[in-house]
C-alpha cells in the first residue's frame, strides 16, 4: 500500500508547531545571520518526522473518507461536492500574501510563518483530496462548480428577446489530474517555504519574498483549479507576473532586472499564441469551459476545417512552449537562475514550468493527430537540444536549468506521442527530484557561496545529507531502475516506441529521446562528480563549507525519498487515463461531411493502441456545467487494457534500451570525472567548434537579440522621430504657413491697398513733374511736340489701316 510522504502542517486543529527548525534564539527582524547547527538529533529532525506523520495521517483520513476528529468525523466526500475545500486551498495563499505585504514587517519573524502555514494547510487539504481520489479510484472522477462571471447578451433587433453572445463562466474543475497537480504544487511550495526560512534568513526584504511566494502559489493553484480557458489564461499571466517578481527579487543586480523582464516578455510571446488559440476556439465553438469546448468540437463545431483545428491546437501549444521553455522560447529559463535558488526550485523546476505540460494534458482532447505530431517534435527536439547545452555548462544552476528544459521536452514529447499517462506521470516524478536537485544545489551554493562547479569538489565529506539526497535525485533523473524517474521515463520511451510503430514520422523523435536520456545521465553524474567527489578545487571555500541547517536539510530529505518512492504502487496509472479525443470525433464529422467520405478515420498517434482507454469517455454535451452536479460516472479502469502484444513488446524493448543508455552515460561520466581517465579538456579541444557552439548556447540569445530586440528598438525610435518630424512637422508647417499667409495678407493690405491710394497721388505728382519738363517755355519745343504728335498720329493711323498691305508689301520683297 503506497504511503505517501507528506510533510506539513496538520489540518488546522493541531498545535501550531510551525516552521520546522525554529530554534530557540529566533531572529526577529532577520537582520543578523541565523546559525543552525546540524548537530545530531535536533528538534528540527523531530519536527520533520512529526510533519511526515501528520501528512500520512491526512492522506489516510482522505482515503478512508472520513476525518476522525476525536468524537466527530467529517465526511470527506464534501471535499469535492462543494467548492469550499478547493476555494480554501486557493485563497489561503492569497490571504497570506495580502497579510504579508501590508503587515509583513510588523509580524514576529517577519511573518514567514504566515505564508508557510497557509501553504501547509493547503498541502494538508490536498493530501486529503489525494487520499480521497485514491479511495474513489475512478479515473473518470470529475466535479465542476460554476458561477456566472461575465454574461453579455445581444438583441437581434431592438426590443427583442436577448440572446447571450458572450458568457464567461468562472468555476472550479476537480478531477484526478487537478488533485495530483494540487499536491505537487502545495507540497513543493511548502517545502520551498520551509527551505527559504533558512536560505533567505539574512535577506533585507525577507517578508516580501514570502509574499511573492504566496502570490505565486495562489496563481499556480488558480491555474490548476479553474475550469475554463479564459481563467486559465488569466492565471497563466498571473503566474508569469509572480515569476517576474521572484526572478527579479534582487533587483539591484542589473542582470536580475534584465532576466525578469526577459522572462515576462518571452512568456508573453507564448501567451499571445495561446490567446489567439483561445479566441479561435471561442469563435468556432462559442464556449470557454473545457467541457463546453470538448463537447462542441466533438460535435463538429469546426465543421470541415480540420486545418483550423490543428492550427488552434498548435496556437494553444504556443502558450506551453512559452511557459515550459520549449525550444524557441526557452531562452528565459537559464537567465531565470538569477532569482534566489528556492525560487528556481519552486518555479523553474517543479510547478510553473509544468503549467505548459498541464495545459497540454488538460486540452489533450482538442489536439488533432497532426497537432500531436508537432508537439512531439517540439518536445523531442527540445530534449536533445537542451541536453547538449547542459553538457558543458559550468554553473551548477545553469546545468539544472537546461536539464529542466530537457526533461520538460521529454514530457511534451511523451504527451505528443500519445503517452498521456506516462507523460503526466513524468511531470509528477520530475517535480520532486528536480526540486530536490535545485534545493541541494541551493544548499551547496549556500555553503560555498559560488555557483561555479569548477571551484567545488569533494563536498561529500562536508555535506553528507545534501550529497545523498542529490545522489538519489540524480539516480532518479538518470533513469536508474527502481527510481521514480526510471518508471516514468521508461514509460514514455515505451509508449514512444509503440507510437513510432504506427507513425513513422516519430522515429527521429525516438532517437532524440534515447540520446537525450543518455546525455542526461552523463551530465547529471558530471555534476555530482564535479561537486561532491574528487579533490576540492578551491581550498578556502572548502574549509568554509558546512552542512546546511535542518530547516534546509529536511525538505531535501523528503524530496530525496520521494524521488525514489513517488512512483510506487501504480496508483497514478490507475487514476490518470487518456481522455476520449474530441478531435478524432471532429475528424470523423469532417470526413462524414466530405462527399464520398472514407469510412476509416485517420488514427491519432497511439490512439488505437491499448495505451489509451479502450472505450470512449462520454463527454457530455453542453449541459455538463449545470450548477455543481457531479458528472463523474464509474467506468472500467482504462490503464489495464487487454495486454496487446505490440505494447508489451515495445515496453520491454524500451526498458532494455533505456537501462543500457543510462548505464553508458553514467559509465562515461564516471570515467571522465571520477577516474579522470578521459580528460574532458582534450575532448573539448578536439571538437572545439562543437564545444564553443554548446558553450554559447547555440548563440540563440544573441540571435533573438539581433533579429527582434534591436530592430524593435530602432523601429520605435524611427516611429518616434517620424512622429515628431513628419506628423508634427506637418502641423507646424501648417502653423508656419498660416503665419506666412497672415504676414502676406498684412503687408499686401498695407502696401497695395494703401499703396493704391497713395499711388495715384504719387503717379499724378510724378506725371506732373515729368510733364512739367515739357513746358520749357520755349515755343520751339511746343511746336516740335505738336508736329511730332501729328506725324505719329497719321503714321499710326496709316499703319493700323493698311497693316495687311504693308506686311504683304514688305514680305513680298
Amino acid at each position: 500500500m503506497s504511503e505517501d510522504h507528506g510533510h506539513g502542517q496538520g489540518h488546522g486543529h493541531e498545535a501550531p508547531a510551525h516552521g520546522h527548525g525554529h530554534d530557540d534564539h529566533g531572529h526577529g527582524g532577520g537582520e543578523h545571520r541565523t546559525h543552525f547547527s546540524p548537530a545530531g538529533f535536533t528538534p528540527g529532525l523531530a519536527v520533520m518526522l512529526l510533519g511526515i506523520v501528520a501528512g500520512g495521517w491526512c492522506f489516510s483520513a482522505g482515503r478512508s473518507g472520513h476525518l476522525a476528529l476525536g468524537p466527530a468525523s467529517i465526511d470527506l466526500n464534501g471535499l469535492f461536492d462543494a467548492p469550499w475545500a478547493s476555494l480554501v486551498i486557493l485563497c489561503l495563499p492569497l490571504v497570506a500574501a495580502f497579510v504579508q505585504i501590508f503587515f509583513g514587517r510588523k509580524l514576529p519573524r517577519n511573518g514567514d510563518w504566515v505564508s508557510t502555514i497557509a501553504v501547509g494547510a493547503g498541502l494538508a487539504l490536498s493530501l486529503m483530496m489525494l487520499g480521497r481520489i485514491i479511495g474513489i479510484y475512478d479515473w473518470q472522477f470529475e466535479r465542476v462548480h460554476e458561477m456566472e462571471w461575465i454574461s453579455l447578451f445581444s438583441r437581434t433587433f431592438p426590443g427583442a428577446q436577448d440572446v447571450v453572445t458572450f458568457r464567461v463562466p468562472m468555476g472550479i474543475l476537480i478531477d484526478n489530474v487537478t488533485v495530483i497537480m494540487l499536491v505537487v504544487v502545495t507540497l513543493v511550495s511548502t517545502l520551498v517555504h520551509i527551505y527559504s526560512i533558512g536560505y533567505m534568513a539574512d535577506d533585507p526584504r525577507y517578508s516580501r519574498f514570502f509574499a511573492y511566494l504566496s502570490i505565486f502559489t495562489f496563481s499556480m493553484l488558480g491555474l490548476v483549479l479553474c475550469n475554463n480557458v479564459f481563467a486559465l489564461y488569466m492565471f497563466w499571466e498571473l503566474v508569469g507576473l509572480s515569476s517576474y517578481l521572484l526572478i527579479g527579487f534582487w533587483f539591484e543586480k542589473k542582470s536580475a532586472a534584465d532576466a525578469q523582464k526577459k522572462a515576462f516578455l518571452v512568456n508573453r510571446v507564448g501567451d499571445i499564441g495561446m490567446f489567439l488559440g483561445i479566441l479561435t476556439f471561442f469563435l468556432m465553438t462559442g464556449e470557454l469551459t473545457y467541457k463546453g469546448i470538448f463537447g462542441s468540437v466533438a460535435n463538429g463545431a469546426f465543421g470541415a476545417q480540420m486545418g483550423l483545428l490543428t492550427a488552434a491546437g498548435v496556437l494553444l501549444f504556443m502558450g506551453a512552449v512559452g511557459k515550459s521553455a520549449q525550444f524557441p522560447l526557452h531562452i528565459w529559463l537559464p537567465d531565470a537562475m538569477e532569482g534566489p535558488t528556492p525560487v528556481s526550485a519552486l518555479i523553474h523546476a517543479a510547478t510553473m514550468v509544468a503549467a505548459g505540460v498541464y495545459l497540454v494534458t488538460r486540452m489533450y482532447p482538442v489536439f488533432t493527430p497532426n497537432a500531436l505530431i508537432v508537439i512531439a517534435w517540439f518536445g523531442g527536439f527540445t530534449a536533445i537540444f537542451a541536453a547538449t547545452i547542459a553538457l558543458c555548462a559550468n554553473d551548477i544552476k545553469k546545468v539544472l536549468a537546461y536539464s529542466t528544459v530537457s526533461q520538460l521536452g521529454y514530457m511534451i514529447m511523451g504527451l505528443g506521442a500519445g503517452a498521456y499517462t506516462n507523460g503526466f506521470f513524468h511531470l509528477w516524478t520530475h517535480a520532486f527530484f528536480k526540486a530536490c536537485l535545485f534545493l541541494g544545489s541551493g544548499s551547496v551554493i549556500h555553503a560555498v557561496v559560488t555557483q561555479d562547479m569548477r571551484e567545488m569538489g569533494g563536498l561529500r565529506r562536508k555535506m553528507p545529507i545534501t550529497f545523498w539526497t542529490m545522489l538519489l535525485s540524480t539516480l532518479a533523473i538518470a533513469g536508474v531502475p527502481f527510481t521514480s524517474g526510471f518508471t516514468s521515463k521508461d514509460g514514455i520511451l515505451g509508449d514512444l516506441l509503440f507510437a513510432a510503430h504506427e507513425h513513422p514520422a516519430l522515429w527521429p523523435v525516438v532517437i532524440f529521446a534515447f540520446a537525450g536520456a543518455g546525455l542526461t545521465a552523463f551530465y547529471m553524474f558530471r555534476l555530482i562528480f564535479m561537486t561532491f567527489t574528487g579533490e576540492p578545487r578551491a581550498k578556502e571555500k572548502f574549509e568554509h563549507a558546512h552542512e546546511s541547517p535542518w530547516v534546509m536539510a529536511a525538505p531535501l530529505v523528503i524530496l530525496g525519498s520521494l524521488a525514489i518512492l513517488s512512483d510506487k504502487g501504480g496508483w497514478f496509472q490507475e487514476l490518470v487515463g487518456k481522455p476520449e479525443s474530441a478531435a478524432a470525433a471532429a475528424i470523423a464529422h469532417a470526413e462524414a461531411m466530405k462527399p464520398g467520405a472514407k469510412p476509416h478515420a485517420e488514427k491519432a498517434p497511439g490512439h488505437e493502441g491499448d495505451a489509451g482507454p479502450s472505450h470512449a469517455k462520454a463527454p457530455d454535451v453542453g449541459s455538463g456545467y449545470v450548477g455543481s452536479l457531479p458528472v463523474a460516472h464509474a467506468g472500467a479502469n482504462p490503464y489495464h487494457p487487454p495486454h496487446s502484444e505490440e505494447l508489451h513488446h515495445a515496453h520491454s524493448a524500451a526498458m532494455v534500451l533505456s537501462i543500457l543508455v543510462a548505464g553508458l552515460g553514467i559509465g562515461l561520466s564516471f570515467f571522465t570525472y571520477q577516474k579522470k581517465l578521459i580528460d574532458p579538456a582534450k575532448i573539448a579541444a578536439a571538437a572545439a567548434p562543437v564545444h564553443r557552439l554548446l558553450l554559447n548556447k547555440y548563440w540563440i540569445d544573441e540571435f533573438f537579440h539581433e533579429t527582434l530586440v534591436k530592430p524593435a528598438l530602432s523601429i520605435s525610435r524611427a516611429c518616434s522621430r517620424f512622429d515628431l518630424k513628419v506628423v508634427d512637422g506637418f502641423v507646424n508647417l501648417w502653423g508656419k504657413a498660416t503665419e506666412v499667409w497672415s504676414w502676406i495678407a498684412g503687408t499686401f493690405d498695407q502696401k497695395v491697398v494703401d499703396g493704391a491710394v497713395n499711388g495715384t497721388a504719387d503717379v499724378v505728382m510724378s506725371a506732373g513733374a515729368a510733364l512739367s519738363r515739357f513746358q520749357t517755355g520755349r515755343l520751339k519745343t511746343y511746336l516740335a511736340w505738336a508736329v511730332a504728335g501729328l506725324v505719329i498720329l497719321t503714321g499710326g493711323f496709316h499703319l493700323v489701316t493698311h497693316w495687311a498691305q504693308i506686311v504683304e508689301h514688305l514680305t513680298r520683297k
Binding site: Q775, G777, R778, L779, K780, L783, V787
Partner: protein, 129 residues
C-alpha cells in the same frame, strides 16, 4: 483751260514750304526768324487752300446756310457765291490774319527786345511750369 500742273504738284510744293517753315521755327534762336517761319507755314496753307479750291469738287454749296440780305425790292435777295469760292475766301482770311499777327508779333518782339536786350527765343521762357 486746264491748269498747267496737276494738284499734286501744288500740294508737294506746299508741303515743302510747310516743312521749311517748321524747320525755321524749330532751329532759329532769333524771334524774328521764327516769325518768318510762321509766315512760310501760313503761305503753304494758302497754297493748299487755293489749290483745292481750284481742283477739288467742293463738298457743300454755299446755299441756304447763307444769310438773306434784305434788298429794297422787298424780296430778300439771297446771294450765294460759287461753291469753290470758299477756298479763296479762306485764303483771303489767312492773309488778313497773317498781317494782323505779324504786326502784333513784332510789337511783342520789340517789347521783349527792349526789356531783355535780346530776342533769343530760349530765354523767353517766363511761362515755364
Amino acid at each position: 483751260m486746264m491748269p498747267v500742273a496737276s494738284l499734286e504738284w501744288f500740294l508737294m510744293i506746299a508741303a515743302f514750304l510747310f516743312a521749311c517753315g517748321i524747320y525755321t521755327i524749330l532751329t532759329r534762336k532769333n524771334a524774328v526768324s521764327v516769325l518768318m517761319g510762321v509766315e512760310l507755314v501760313l503761305n503753304s496753307a494758302n497754297i493748299n487752300l487755293v489749290a483745292f479750291a481750284r481742283f477739288v469738287k467742293p463738298a457743300a454749296s454755299l446755299g441756304p446756310q447763307s444769310v438773306p440780305i434784305p434788298m429794297e425790292s422787298g424780296a430778300a435777295a439771297v446771294i450765294y457765291g460759287a461753291p469753290w469760292a470758299s477756298g479763296h475766301v479762306f485764303a483771303a482770311f489767312v492773309i488778313i490774319l497773317a498781317a494782323a499777327e505779324a504786326a502784333v508779333a513784332l510789337g511783342i518782339i520789340l517789347g521783349i527786345y527792349r526789356s531783355m536786350g535780346g530776342v533769343d527765343v530760349d530765354e523767353v521762357s517766363a511761362l515755364k511750369g
